[in-house]
């Protein structure tokens, strides 16, 4: 049934309704309502502490929330649905194993086809020569690329990327951006957080702008950068401190 739903692509596969997160008495996210369009690339922008990463994690079901209704393909998110999405963390979490073993870990079964998939993905992220290298000996950029390759191995419909190119060299940045665009063309919906305006302009079709746990704007990327609706977004784009 789930596969059937996956085939009938909805225009708005993700619907977030009244999402709030409380940490102690502080509201990290405050009544977020939004709809994410299918096969889109959405960039989440906002100053540090705005709740961007929390929003991603709550979609992925990593964070217990005060009240939440998140629908993916018209169904409320549960473990079964979560298997169809993948989250790449800002700081890559890699197992204390080789590159190959890190990839194999996410697979249910190991066979020739999966090995071929792994090799192809590692080639794509430029890590095939490091197959047998301990993953933690890779550089920061390489670790992030491995993290992305591992996420792609699941072949998720929804890819969540938490600042995937923060502190990376231009080569890794370009490679990751190319992969994001490529995967989007293949039909994946991608949500990413970033502080890189250039990257948001290059990749995003839509922008979600957060400030102090509130979703202030959801608009097309072109409109957001040309004419942001809120003062906060204007200040953020112009590099001013948001009070």
């Amino acid at each position: 049934m789930f596969d059937k739903q996956k085939k009938t692509k909805l225009l708005t596969p993700i619907v977030v309704s009244n999402l709030s997160i409380l940490l102690g008495e502080i509201k990290i996210l405050d009544k977020i309502n939004c709809k994410i369009h299918n096969e889109s690339i959405i960039a989440i922008l906002g100053p540090n502490g705005a709740g961007k990463s929390m929003f991603l994690k709550s979609i992925n079901g990593l964070i217990g929330v005060e009240s939440r209704k998140i629908y993916f393909n018209s169904r409320e998110i549960n473990d079964h649905i979560r298997k169809d999405m993948a989250l790449v963390f800002q700081k890559p979490t890699l197992l204390r194993r080789t590159v190959l073993e890190n990839m194999q870990f996410v697979l249910e079964k190991k066979n020739k086809i999966s090995n071929l998939q792994i090799t192809n993905l590692l080639k794509r992220v430029g890590l095939d020569i490091y197959k047998y290298k301990p993953a933690r000996l890779l550089s920061g950029g390489e670790q992030q690329r491995l993290s992305l390759a591992r996420a792609l191995l699941i072949n998720p419909s929804l890819l969540l990327l938490d600042e995937p190119t923060a502190n990376l060299d231009p080569y890794s940045l370009n490679l990751i951006e190319e992969i994001i665009l490529d995967e989007n063309k293949k039909g994946k919906t991608i949500i990413l957080t970033t502080h890189d305006m250039g990257q948001a302009k290059r990749l995003a079709k839509e922008i979600l702008f957060f400030n102090k746990g509130k979703l202030l704007e959801q608009t097309k990327a072109i409109n957001f950068f040309k004419k942001p609706k809120t003062k906060e977004a204007q200040s953020y784009i112009n590099g001013k401190i948001l009070l």
Binding site: R82, T93, L95, R97
Partner: protein
Amino acid sequence: MILESFTRAFDLVLTLDKDFFEILLLSMKVSCLSLFLSCLVGLPIGTYLAIKNFWGRDTVLIIFNAMMGLPPVVVGLIVYLLISRSGPFGWLGVLYTPSAMIIAQMILIIPIIVSLTAQIIEEINEEYKDLFKSLVISSHKALIACLYDARYSILTVILAGFGRAISEVGAVIIVGGNIDHLTRVMTTTIALETSKGNLSLALALGIILLLIALIINLILITLKTRAKRRMYV
């Protein structure tokens, strides 16, 4: 005397002294068996304490931590009281046998295995838990992954347990009785020979015991260095 002791130690090994090898073999047998059984009990308990949150968990951990410093003679005395003829487990008839020595050593080793395993697995689980949750990995698979990735650190714990077992004297002398050809091990022989004034033999045995400790530490350091080079610890 030191030179004499070294010569004697070499003699014992090179001449394949029957009595010496009997003592060495029993020492290794008792220590290895108690270590194996302690791991069977301690590793699952340590892992469970690391990954499960339940009421009283911290208290249990504190108790195990405190038990790491248990005085061996006290453990020996308690085990003695429990397994002596008039004790609750007297019917087992294990007093003054290697089994009694194994039981005493287990009581000394299990807290080390539990506490250190809990510490290691807790750390690794903390690091991996978001990844596992995000990948919707079953808790069974997650647990195996944690244990596998902590293998080098856990090996260190096991070897630390072995170190405690092989060097133990207070508890095994009480419950084993240091009976010749039955419960006499390296440490109890050293204690006996020292009291008899046979210092060169005691020292010779001490040198061999030190060598065993040295070999264990060498293995430990080699493994750790290898693991560190790969950033596996």
